[in-house]
Every structure is written in C-alpha cells, then in structure tokens.
Assembly symmetry: C2
Homo-oligomer: 225 residues x 2
C-alpha cells in the first residue's frame, strides 16, 4: 500500500508517519518509484505499537526508539524486555544527588523489597518512584511508614504472578516481546483507570450520594460523549 | 521567612517559586518592604503540594491551578474533590470524534462497570482510558474481552474501599482534601511502581534467573545510586 493508505489504515496522520520514518522508528517501505514506496501490514502493526507506547505509555520518541531497538534486537533475551520497558517508562534519573530524606526513603524501600523476597534490579527506576512517593507523603506532613504500601504490594504480586504466567514463550519472539511490553503498559493504564473509578464509587457510597450523578466543577471543560 | 529561605526549606528553586507566584498557584507573602515579602509555613506546605501534583501526578500548571482552586474553594464538597483530581489527571478529551472501535469499546466498558455495580460519573475520564486500553490491545491483534480487566477491577475495588474508609472527614477541610488528592495521586504512583517491581520478580522467577542480577541493555544510561 502507499503511504496515504498506510495513514488511513493505521489512523496515524501521514506527516507523523514521515516523522517516524525520519527518526528511524518505522522501517522504510520497499521503494517502487523515485518518490514512492510500498508499505505492508508490518508497517500498520508497527505504527499501532508506536502509538501504544506514546499514547498509552506516555513514552517520548527517544524512549520508543530504545524499546523498539530491544524488540528488534534478537540478542536481547525475553526476560530483559520487561526491564527495557520499565527503564523506558522512567522516571529518568535527573542526575542530581538524592537528598538526605530520599536516601533514607530508598533504604526503607530496599528493606521493604527484601522483606517481600522480591528479586528486582538494584537500579530499577520503580524503586526510586516508590521512595519518592514516601518522601512526598512525608513532606506533606503525613506520618507514613513504608509498610503502608504492603496492601499495594500484595495486589501487585497477585496481578504480576498471573500476568507473567500467561506469557507464552513458544510464540514467535516478536510477538512475545510485544505481549510483554504491551502487558506492562496497557494493563497498567487499565489498573490505574479502574482504581480511580473504584475510588469514585466507594466515595459516592460512603458519602451517600447514592444514585445522584456527581456534580462536576464548572471550570473543567470536557467534550460531550 | 524571605523567599530565599522559602526556596531552601521547600527545596524549590527561587525562580520556580516566582513563576508559581506569577501564575497565581502560590498566594503572595506579606509585603514587608518595597521589594520584599515575608513567607510562612503555609507557603512551604503549598509548595510541597504543588510539587506532589506536578512531579508525582505529572499535572500541568493549568491542571494544578484547577485542583488548588477546588481545594481552596470551600463550596466544593469533599465528595467532589476526587472527581476534580481525576479530571485534572486526565486524559484531557482531544475533541476529536471517537472512532467506531472506540465507541464499541466505551459501550463495553459501560456495561462492565454496570455489571460491577459501580457508581461513577458518566463522563469520568477513566472510562475513556479503560476503553482506550481495550482499543490498543485489539489494534495490536490481541483477542481481548473487557472481562480481561476483571482481576484488576477486583484489586482496585479492594484498595479503594480501604482508602476511602481511611478518610477522616472530621479533620480540618483543607487537610481532608489534601489527603484525598494526595491519596489518589501518590498511592497510584506507588501501586504502579510496585506492580512493575512485582512483574520483574515474577519474570525472574519464572525464567529462572534466580539470584542473578538482571542484565540491562547498554543503550540505556542511568546514573549510579
């Protein structure tokens, strides 16, 4: 198919496709004429994957390049794909030295993970995210211990066990790594959305606005559905 | 305290504080001289709150303004604060009409939530996020039903029930709304971090890299801890 059809099929605007081609995120089509190339179903699929990474995962184009590079590099073992996705998701270290309270929180998080007997990369960015959550709560005067995260750790453990056991490593490598990367990013987005909806529901129940449609602040615009 | 001390105490750079003052996110200090103002502990606290919203929640300054406005507006009922935080967290509607597959996914999500008997705002942005997760998985060829989210809904329900019951509405209003907004944003970040760590652990266990430190792709730089 031509680039215009690729745009229609993938629902990605042609200028964006051209950007991805220039940035090397999308492999070039087969040249058929001086100024024309032929694209395939593989291109549609890759565009959907890029869109999942940027729109659902919120990845920058640089981070997308890292993830796609690892997906395409057959020397990267399957087991490392999760780590690649996690590093791409960030947070990116900003290079500044951690503060005293951040160091303290990191030590507590490390002890917490050891207590859970979880085997995780000592440099996993999620360790820092967890420590930062602790620091933020404390800065705002909440007297919170790292053990406050225990119920969250338990449900995370439960979900992850199920997810990892559903990976089928006998499928074609490209498909398996896509499953892993998508699983981590898309189901994360789903989990976050469901937690917000559940909070809304329980708040409505507790504060007895049963059946009444929750009022929304007029200052927040949104489009009608 | 002067602005320089406010910067040190809050760990927010003075130019950033000045930006927040100009943008109306931070209330002005008490003027003590022509070019000098006196700041209080309230300013330190507010700066920490802004930082939590931007750094942990990833909110834009406009979204922060909406959230702070609702926190400060005593007419906004407590129950609505969650909704305010959720609308600020997004996703922001982009105004484009939903595609056929998006409409289909939204209908499925609505049916799913009805089945769970959850009372949620018909316009809650998280509905769209959930539908988008479904669309993304399908575009990538995964034959997935909305019921695939059921285990996630169950843990979300479990966590939210606990969170909402821990809200103490007898505390001072300002403190309660901060607890609600922070709870949704900071514990969400913690949950996401823990899920990634749990995935890493279960992947390491399943793929038998027990005890071995996971290799990281050389292309991803990070600073030493």
């Amino acid at each position: 198919m031509r680039i215009s059809e690729l745009g229609e099929r993938s629902e990605v605007p042609v200028p964006t496709i051209k950007l991805y081609l220039r940035e090397g995120l999308l492999f070039r089509g087969k040249r058929t004429a001086r100024n024309q190339a032929e694209y395939s179903e593989e291109h549609v699929r890759r565009l959907h994957l890029i869109r999942a990474l940027t729109e659902v995962g919120g990845l920058s184009l640089n981070a997308v390049r890292n993830v796609l590079g690892a997906i395409d590099d057959k020397r990267v073992p399957l087991i490392d794909m999760l780590g690649v996705a996690h590093f791409a998701l960030g947070p990116t270290p900003d290079g500044s030295p951690p503060s005293v309270e951040q160091v303290k929180a990191l030590t507590e998080v490390d002890g917490f993970l050891t207590g859970l007997k979880w085997m995780v990369d000592p440099d996993a960015p999620a360790r820092k995210s967890l420590a930062q959550a602790l620091v933020t709560l404390r800065r705002l005067g909440q007297d919170v211990d790292v053990q406050a995260f225990l119920p969250y750790a338990h449900v995370a453990d439960q979900l992850a066990r199920q997810e990892v056991s559903s990976i089928d490593p006998t499928k074609q490598r490209g498909q398996v790594v896509e499953d892993i990367v998508l699983g981590t990013i898309v189901f994360e987005a789903a989990l976050v959305a469901l937690r917000r909806l559940a909070e809304e529901h329980h708040a409505a129940t507790r504060f007895e606005r049963r059946g009444e449609r929750s009022r929304k602040p007029a200052s927040l615009n949104r489009t009608p559905r």
